[in-house]
């Protein structure tokens, strides 16, 4: 009987303790609470583990290191309250509601991934929290901006990513560096399908001949048939609108098969440092979504990110995540208090200095982002973008190491 009681109380305690996770118990009312929701488990967890959570951790650490946020009434340390949404939108919604009504946080950071940000937009609007999204790529920005005065988009639209990738290939074709035959594959999931559908008409207009055009299910363990068939169609360029596991799988297969195209592009996760770590010299000159300009500030950011969080930041979303945090910090300190409406207004009325340069979200959208990157000498350099001026030149892929 006693063991049963012990188990019962133990289970009850465990369940009670599982509600939420706080990094520091804030009995101190001067500590400012920031809510963070994202996938720690589930299919999108690995991406969030690199781009989403560590950035907030780094930011909170740096803010507290210099004493805290500087408000009108002095310095205030910050505390993060994190919830795992398990990659399920209903859980994201519940967690955000909880942060707003139960934990009563002073600010809620954006959530991770497009669908999730869109799902919680009404709740942020209801409680007046500004929603400064980053990991949110959608073609519906204009409608959403009209509907929600407190939403901000810091990434481009789906079409802009497809367009930019194909523009790079078009330039190579027009310069007679590659032919006009392209093999296109895509993962049969949201972003992959959207990119593929956006890409087809753009390829046609650019004068490309799509010699192989197939999709594969998410989580396919063997991509050999896909790569073999693509190779057999004799393409000059290979484009994969792919997700992390297949981005890695396709590159490995391409290496083994000897897919000798002069331009190789795979969409998501090419920008992960893990890609270069896994493939070493074979990753050289692989194109992918994202990219960043190599500057001393960026290098310093990567160093700090690794030191404080233990995770290597990626070359796509990470620097922009950090930049939006810089914008939020500057807005809060500019207003001098946690008045959410004032902070939202400040974001709409000012320019901000960040690690990626000067940023301006006065129209609730940042029309300044990098779209295509290429691995060159161990750094995923930005070779194309919107709103920036200098990009690295594109190199042809000569071998798979």
């Amino acid at each position: 009987m006693r063991r049963r009681e012990l188990l019962k109380y133990g289970a009850a305690t465990a369940v009670a303790g599982s509600f939420g996770h706080r990094i520091a118990r804030a009995a101190d009312p001067s500590v400012i609470k920031f809510g963070v929701v994202g996938p720690k488990t589930g299919p999108l967890a690995p991406g969030a583990a690199v781009t989403h959570f560590p950035n907030f951790k780094l930011w909170a650490y740096e803010v507290n290191q210099r004493g805290g946020l500087k408000l009108k009434d002095g310095l205030h340390k910050v505390e993060l309250i994190e919830y795992d949404d398990r990659t399920q939108p209903p859980e994201t919604i519940k967690a955000v509601e909880r942060l707003a009504t139960v934990d009563k946080v002073d600010f809620i950071m954006p959530v991770y991934a497009t669908g999730f940000n869109l799902a919680v937009a009404p709740i942020y609007a209801k409680y007046n929290y500004p929603l400064v999204t980053q990991a949110c790529v959608t073609d519906q920005m204009d409608q959403l901006i009209k509907r929600y005065p407190n939403i901000f988009f810091v990434q481009g639209s789906t079409t802009s990513y497809a367009q930019a990738a194909i523009d790079i290939l078009k330039k190579l074709k027009d310069d007679k560096q590659i032919g006009n035959k392209v093999a296109v594959v895509n993962v049969a999931d949201d972003f992959g399908i959207e990119l593929a559908n956006a890409g087809r008409p753009i390829f046609k207009k650019a004068g490309f001949d799509i010699v192989y055009d197939k999709s594969y299910p998410l989580g396919t363990q063997d991509l050999a048939p896909v790569v073999k068939a693509a190779k057999a169609a004799n393409p000059d360029a290979f484009v994969a609108w792919s997700y992390p596991p297949d981005t890695f799988g396709l590159a490995e297969q391409a290496k083994i098969e000897g897919l000798n195209v002069k331009a190789y592009y795979s969409a998501v996760a090419t920008a992960f440092p893990g890609f270069a770590q896994k493939f070493g010299p074979a990753a050289e000159n692989v194109l992918g979504a994202g990219g960043i300009k190599d500057t001393p500030e960026i290098r310093a950011y990567y160093k700090a990110h690794k030191e404080v969080t233990g995770v290597d930041a990626d070359y796509w979303g990470s620097p922009f995540y950090y930049s939006l945090l810089q914008m939020i910090t500057q807005s809060i300190e500019g207003v001098g208090s946690m008045d959410l409406k004032a902070i939202t207004a400040y974001l709409k009325n000012n320019k901000f200095k960040t690690i990626v340069g000067e940023l301006d979200v006065r129209n609730q959208r940042l029309d300044k982002f990098y779209t295509v990157g290429q691995w060159q000498n161990g750094f995923f350099n930005a070779v194309a973008g919107v709103g920036f001026t200098d990009y690295s030149p594109v190199k042809l892929k000569t071998s798979w190491g």
Binding site: P217, Q221, D222, P225, K228, F248
Partner: protein, 288 residues
């Protein structure tokens, strides 16, 4: 010809995923929904070993197999035995085990997350082509194929040629009768469960050479393994191996000759068709 070779390589991959679950479900009669997490634990252990030492991942088998065996033995003793003792019939035991191991899978995901983090982990090993009949294939996949065949053969021989294996097979046919012929059913079931876990973890070691893993991916592998085990007929390891290779060949054929997007549809169609014609699975026994 290419299709057959790729299909066999894929079949070997599937066999590695499913054999452990067959031992746990077919012999120990435990539906282990935490099977995928054990596979990932094996893969993560290898990743850590390979990045730390740069020695061949095959050496990781030396510590992964005993550790997985011990861990699964402990799980059986602590979590499963009480369920077995109080189950009044096989149906209730299955339900209890499904619920218990489902919860266990969450715990294991949490542990993997805490120890290894949430990111994708993968490394490159033997990612070079080997030419068979003039066509390139991944050397790492061929190595995993050889490992898989060795494991299949080893398990089959052990189960069908040794006394201990005979005891396990007796337990899978009829636990009550096995007890009557002085087989220690609890011990045999624990052995089957632990061995199944060890085989799954070994599969994880081999698969980590060419697949990318993250802490949350377990459920995908459990699902695939479940389909293969049921397709092959729950009671016989040969059925599982056969089903794994049939599935691998079928998927590759569809991917190469029809459309890679239809591989999942084809796999499930095959699954439904075979079960409709033969509900006990390919090599299964009719209602034991």
């Amino acid at each position: 010809m290419e299709i057959i070779i790729i299909g066999l390589l894929l079949g070997a991959t599937y066999a590695l995923m499913a054999m452990g679950l067959q031992l746990q479900y077919g012999v120990a009669r435990i539906m282990n929904l935490a099977n995928g997490e054990m596979l990932i634990a094996g893969a993560f252990g290898t990743f850590w070993f390979y990045t730390a030492s740069n020695a061949s991942p095959f050496y990781a088998l030396i510590f992964v197999i005993p550790l997985a065996f011990a861990a699964n033995w402990a799980i059986y003793r602590v979590l499963i035995v009480p369920l077995v003792r109080r189950a009044r019939n096989q149906g209730q035991l299955e339900v209890d085990c499904i619920l218990a191991t489902f919860g266990l899978s969450f715990i294991l995901v949490g542990i993997l997350l805490a120890v290894f983090g949430g990111e994708y982990l993968s490394y490159s090993y033997l990612a070079r082509p080997i030419f068979i009949l003039g066509e390139p294939y991944g050397l790492n996949r061929v190595a995993a194929f050889i490992g898989s065949i060795a494991l299949c053969l080893g398990l089959y021989l052990w189960l069908h040629r040794t006394r201990a294996g005979l005891a396990l097979r007796a337990v899978s046919v009829n636990p009550a009768a096995a007890g009557l012929v002085s087989i220690n059913v609890t011990r045999a079931s624990a052995l089957a469960f632990a061995l199944g876990g060890a085989v799954t973890a070994a599969g994880g070691v081999l698969l980590s050479m060419f697949l990318t893993f993250d802490a949350s991916l377990g459920v995908v592998f459990t699902l695939k393994a479940l389909i293969i085990v049921i397709l092959g007929g729950v009671s016989d390891i040969r059925g599982t191996i056969l089903a794994a290779f049939i599935l691998g060949l079928a998927e590759t054929t569809v991917a190469s000759l029809v459309d890679p997007g239809l591989t999942l549809a084809a796999a499930y169609l095959l699954f439904m068709a075979i079960l409709l014609m033969r509900p006990e699975g390919l090599l299964g026994r009719r209602s034991s």
